[in-house]
């Protein structure tokens, strides 16, 4: 996890607001550093994490996680992490008919109407342990990423419904958190993606939007991060609703600074 990002968002592994949906959005840049941040953050916070990884392999996240101080292998062995590696699991679907319902069943159906099997997988993975005290703190669902589902033939409304059900179960019922990444192409021609991003934004409590700089690529400033807080609860004090910072990604950390105040230019 990146300590500077924690400071920006005013969270620590010990003090996390529960029951929130955080939307990670990237436009003209790669926002996956935010996924790595939240993965390591919630593992360090001793939460039970269900990670639906649709775009990268387990070893990819493991290598980056080790740089950030968490071992995914250890977490998986302990039962803290439930990892759906879609790249590997999809082979089961493509080359043989699965015995029972499979979370990635939509890959096999000609017109995937809904993502209910995937929701059932999440529900099963995060259901509270029977009897005795819970080993882990509140459950967390992490999805990387949702835009790829559109490319796989799922309608935007079906993805919105899937997140709705996950939110109802994980956030409201189990008082956990949900973090999901979408790509915002900014292209007016892609209506399904726009609908997905807008629909998710309306459901979110916190939106982190990583954008490339309008002027192009730069060695010292990799992009801009816009933070928008929504749906304040009764208890939350009046605070800044939105912040904008620029950032530079380094080997093991990300540094944030106010716009125009990169250390390279000061």
């Amino acid at each position: 996890m990146f300590p500077e990002l924690n400071n920006l968002l005013n969270i620590t592994p010990d003090k996390v607001e529960q029951g929130k949906l955080t939307l990670l959005c990237d436009a003209k840049t790669d926002g996956s550093f935010l996924v790595h941040h939240f993965l390591s953050f919630f593992l360090k916070a001793k939460c039970k994490v269900c990670f639906v990884a649709l775009v990268q392999s387990f070893s990819h996240y493991n290598i980056v996680g080790q740089k950030l101080g968490v071992s995914l292998t250890t977490a998986w062995e302990r039962g803290q992490l439930v990892f759906l590696e879609a790249l590997k699991t999809s082979l089961d679907i493509f080359f043989q008919t699965p015995a029972g319902p499979h979370p990635l069943q939509f890959l096999r159906e000609a017109s995937a109407r809904n993502l209910q099997p995937l929701y059932a997988f999440v529900q099963e993975a995060l259901k509270p342990e029977d009897g005795g005290e819970a080993t882990w703190r509140h459950p967390v669902l992490l999805v990387d990423d949702l835009s790829v589902l559109l490319s796989l033939g799922v309608r935007a409304v079906a993805v919105l419904d899937f997140i709705h059900y996950c939110r109802a179960t994980v956030c409201t019922e189990l008082k956990g958190n949900l973090v999901a990444l979408v790509h915002d192409s900014g292209d007016a021609a892609d209506e399904e993606n726009d609908l997905l991003v807008s629909g998710l934004s309306h459901q979110s409590h916190l939106i982190l939007r990583a954008e490339g700089l309008a002027t192009g690529f730069c060695k010292d400033v990799h992009g801009q991060l816009k933070v928008l807080w929504r749906r304040p609860s009764q208890a939350a004090a009046q605070r800044d609703r939105s912040l904008t910072y620029q950032y530079k990604i380094q080997d093991k950390t990300v540094s944030f600074f106010a716009k125009g105040l990169s250390p390279a230019v000061l």
């Binding site: 409304v157 309306h202 749906r231 609860s233």
Partner: protein, 290 residues
């Protein structure tokens, strides 16, 4: 003519403070609920409309109405946050959040959400009813636009036929999720349209009241009640119709012009040359060969 009213607020606490007493804000909210019909509440990602919807619900409850909420987007617990027990007792929450598509096979809404919505406007008592839709966007994403519009129209018209005084329908709509077509259709159905916007951290609400169309019961006579006489008697009308206009070319005019040819000798030019004039008797056009 649309009459925009700017109402700005600073944070949630401000709404509560202003509504707890008498004030301009509660008058404004009352005026939104006075007409009946559909009140369309358009919000966006940055400027949320749920607080405004809850403020309208509170106002309805304070006026003694019963409120039915079709909740699709947030849980009942979260929706009821901020309502005291008095208001909570008047709010009936129809929970479409937990299992809207019946994935758990519990059959909470056996005939679907739209049928549940239609059932809401068959009230058992005669009190005025307010129906709050949180949100209309959810309905539009899951049902065809025409079906939703027909249901809304039926809901709003309920006030005419039933003994209930009036039915208020409050619909929360997320602007970015819909194309211009459905937005336009809902706009035309709405009695009042509230659009939430803001600058510099302050939200403002633009309110558009749609005036009902007036159809005249009888044709108005423009020549009545004047200080001069615009009416024609029968003889005057005949004379007027038979009049020929001066610049109109009729067959009589044509005859008159043709008959006037032979009298050329009646015209003369009298010319007195002075000392500097050079009069040449030769015809300058003589060498032309036409």
């Amino acid at each position: 003519m649309p009459r925009p009213v700017h109402w700005s607020r600073r944070g949630r606490d401000a709404i509560r403070a202003r509504l707890s007493g008498r004030g301009q804000q509660s008058e404004m909210l009352e005026s939104l609920l006075a007409f009946g019909g559909l009140v369309l509440l358009r919000d966006s990602i940055e400027w949320e409309g749920r607080d405004f919807l809850k403020a309208l619900i509170k106002q309805s409850a304070l006026c003694g109405e019963q409120i039915h909420v079709l909740g699709c987007e947030i849980s009942e617990e979260e929706f009821r946050e901020g309502f005291d027990s008095n208001i909570n007792s008047r709010v009936v929450y129809h929970d479409l959040f937990r299992d809207p598509l019946n994935w758990s096979k519990n059959e909470a809404f056996p005939r679907g959400p739209l049928e549940a919505l239609r059932a809401m406007c068959r009230p058992t008592d005669l009190r005025p009813v307010t129906i709050a839709l949180d949100s209309l966007s959810w309905l539009l994403l899951h049902f065809p636009c025409s079906t939703v519009c027909q249901t809304l129209h039926a809901l709003c018209r309920q006030g005419d036929s039933s003994p209930v005084e009036r039915v208020n329908v409050l619909g929360l709509l997320h602007e970015e999720l819909h194309a211009a077509g459905p937005l336009g259709a809902l706009s035309s159905l709405a009695q009042i349209e509230v659009t939430l916007d803001g600058t510099m951290g302050r939200t403002s609400a633009h309110i558009l009241y749609r005036k009902p169309r007036h159809r005249p019961a009888h044709q108005v006579d423009p020549t009545a009640h004047l200080t001069f006489n615009l009416r024609l008697s029968k003889k005057e009308r005949e004379t007027r119709d038979s009049l020929t206009l001066p610049f109109q070319f009729s067959s009589e005019k044509q005859q008159a012009l043709l008959c006037s040819e032979p009298s050329q000798a009646s015209s003369h030019i009298f010319y007195e040359p002075d000392a500097y004039d050079d009069l040449d008797p030769e015809d300058p056009d003589d060498d032309l060969d036409i």
